[in-house]
């Protein structure tokens, strides 16, 4: 039986090219809004919760490193090898900072490796004192991390029980971290003895000394007892030990700094969304205005057969609603296909701190993006549709 929605459906089916253009426009709009919002939130999640996720209040690094370099190493993982001066650990421990936990890490950049398309950061940890990496282990190892074993970051393409080869040494994967959204995702963790050995092999293979001092500590991670201010602790360390080639950074400062570049990315995303929205409104509005002027006689026919102005508007709008809904749903599917690709490829290539939003967030983002695209479609068509409804029947019937 004929119904208003069937009339709308026929109008869509019998004008495939026009419908295709309209659906495509709405589809692009809804997918961009969906992808853009997930991207934005994932990036800001990646940054805002960074300090928390890092788990350390203060980090101590060599003072020869500029802030942005440290940031690059810790957050986005540009593999590098660098070392603190001798006795840095002991010197820091001597200070009255209210330290709850302290654990050193040793950084060693691998050469390009078969498992990964980029060099991997090797990090030697002190498994007993470590409070950073263990936190990300889905299941704590049954025993401590032993010599010759390694824990891999989430992006490393390997699994527990398999072997990976670094500097000619085969190391057994003993654990894999959850996704951290930080450089840890592309890092590999070994114990102190193993990193010593790997560093030795690295020096032997490249015939180049890594470091003059006997210390193999690159970073010292500090967690303070509650009530102690990380910024004050960092300032104290810098005051006392600054001249000894040591520099302390409080983790929250990363977030501030990080958000600067994130604000830029997020602005760029928002701006392109605004442009796309504007274009969509124009395209949909124009296509509908065109199609309506083409269909004046049809509209006049509906009117003299007894359709009220309101009914005529409803018939036109149900067509827009249908087209927008098709477009919105397709757009969400497109987004759902593209987001994982962005997550795995683009973000890794850009090395941005990125923590993919929860599935709940993505579902609501999909629904809201779809609804937004449908509303945009309706809004864009509303002006030509309402204007057409106001035309006198006799003028609709006269040839244009």
């Amino acid at each position: 039986m004929l119904s208003i929605s069937k009339i709308a459906k026929r109008n869509i089916q019998r004008k495939p090219l026009r419908s295709f253009c309209l659906i495509l426009t709405v589809m692009l709009l809804s997918s961009f809004v969906f992808i853009g919002s997930v991207l934005n939130v994932s990036l800001s999640d990646g940054a805002v919760s960074l300090a928390n996720r890092l788990g350390a209040d203060v980090m101590i690094v060599p003072s020869s490193y500029r802030f942005s370099q440290v940031e690059g190493i810790i957050l986005t993982g540009k593999p590098s090898s660098f070392y603190l001066p001798d006795n840095a650990l002991e010197e820091v421990q001597k200070l009255d900072l209210g330290i709850e936990k302290i654990s050193p890490q040793t950084f060693l950049a691998s050469f390009k490796m078969s498992c990964c398309s980029y060099p991997v950061q090797l990090i030697g940890i002190d498994y007993d004192s470590d409070f950073i990496i263990k936190h990300w282990l889905g299941k704590i190892l049954s025993q401590k991390l032993r010599e010759g074993e390694l824990i891999i970051g989430n992006n490393i393409a390997s699994d527990v029980g398999e072997y990976l080869r670094f500097f000619g040494q085969d190391l057994k994967v003993a654990g894999k971290l959850e996704k951290t959204g930080m450089a840890f995702d592309s890092s590999v963790f070994v114990d102190r003895a193993t990193i010593e050995k790997l560093a030795y092999e690295s020096e032997r293979i490249s015939a180049k000394r890594l470091h003059d001092s006997s210390s193999r500590n690159s970073v010292i991670m500090l967690k303070l007892k509650s009530g102690h201010d990380p910024e004050a602790a960092a300032m104290e360390i810098n005051r006392v030990l600054g001249s000894r080639g040591i520099q302390a950074i409080f983790s929250k400062s990363f977030v501030n700094n990080m958000s600067q570049s994130l604000v830029f990315v997020s602005r760029a995303i928002t701006l392109s969304l605004a442009v796309i929205w504007f274009l969509a409104v124009i395209i949909i509005g124009l296509l509908f205005a065109l199609s309506i002027s083409e269909r004046r006689l049809e509209m006049g026919t509906l009117r003299y057969l007894g359709a009220t102005r309101a009914k005529l508007t409803r018939i036109m709008l149900s067509e827009v609603l249908m087209i927008s809904s098709y477009g919105a749903i397709l757009g969400i599917f497109l987004g759902a296909l593209v987001i994982p690709v962005i997550n795995s490829r683009v973000i890794e290539a850009l090395r941005l701190p990125f923590l993919l939003s929860s599935i709940q967030f993505m579902i609501s983002a999909a629904i809201i993006s779809g609804a937004f695209a449908i509303l945009t479609g309706m809004l864009a068509a509303l002006i030509p549709v309402l204007r057409a409804g106001r035309v006198e029947i006799n003028d609709m019937l006269s040839e244009v």
């Binding site: 039986m1 004929l2 026929r10 057969l305 006799n394 019937l397």
Partner: protein, 225 residues
């Protein structure tokens, strides 16, 4: 029973204020009547029908349809009257090109609440007019004469009080024209459908119970058959 009553209807279009498209027309049409108006192009025939259908409003005078004065009616009231009481067949073929013939016939019945087996009745009408085989064709796929017959079926679907047909035989060969006019004639004689038909085709003179001539907006009765 009076179905349509024109009293001193004058129509002047704003854009051409010097011209009276209709000049002081008075006309009454009873139930079961078959009125045929002929006149040259531009004489005001379409204007008269459009005023009857509430599509145009007269500049002065009164018009009553089925006892209701059409002046000062809201859009909704006028639409309802058009849908329930008038079967309007405009000049030229105006259909929804994306609907099939039978869907076009059914169309008026879904714009307002109408009970009954609408599809069944539409099929009966199409059969009666010999185009049942075209029910599922699209308007672009049928001939001009077939489409006119579909428009008559569409005008009848809601059992209107009166059929207003504007040049229903224009652009048809004489055989198709005769076919259409015979359909009207039968509808009037066998089913007592009230008809107001306008045309510039002198062939139509043989049809209708009363024939009028329209001349520069002035209506004069020609003969009573």
């Amino acid at each position: 029973m009076k179905i349509l009553r024109f009293e001193n209807i004058t129509k002047i279009f704003n854009s051409r204020s010097s011209l009276k498209a209709l000049d002081n027309i008075t006309l009454e049409i009873e139930s079961g009547d078959f009125v045929n108006i002929i006149g040259r192009s531009g004489s005001g025939k379409s204007t008269l029908l459009k005023i009857s259908a509430g599509i145009l409003t007269p500049t002065s005078g009164e018009i009553e349809l089925d006892g209701e004065n059409l002046a000062n009616k809201s859009d909704s009231e006028l639409s309802r009257i058009r849908n329930y009481k008038i079967g309007f067949i405009p000049q030229g073929a105006s259909v929804l090109p994306n609907l099939t013939i039978i869907e076009n016939v059914i169309l008026p019945a879904i714009l307002w609440e109408h009970g009954g087996d609408i599809t069944g009745y539409a099929m009966i009408l199409l059969e009666k007019f010999g185009i049942a085989n075209l029910a599922n064709s699209y308007p672009s796929e049928v001939s001009g004469g077939e489409l006119r017959r579909a428009l008559i079926a569409r005008a009848l679907i809601n059992h209107p009080k009166i059929i207003l047909a504007d040049e229903p035989t224009s652009n048809l060969d004489s055989e198709s024209s005769q076919n259409i006019l015979q359909i009207f004639s039968r509808l009037n004689s066998q089913e007592n459908v009230t008809l107001l038909l306008v045309s510039h085709d002198l062939d139509t003179l043989k049809f209708g119970k009363r024939v009028f001539e329209m001349n520069d907006g002035i209506l004069t009765q020609k003969s009573v058959l």
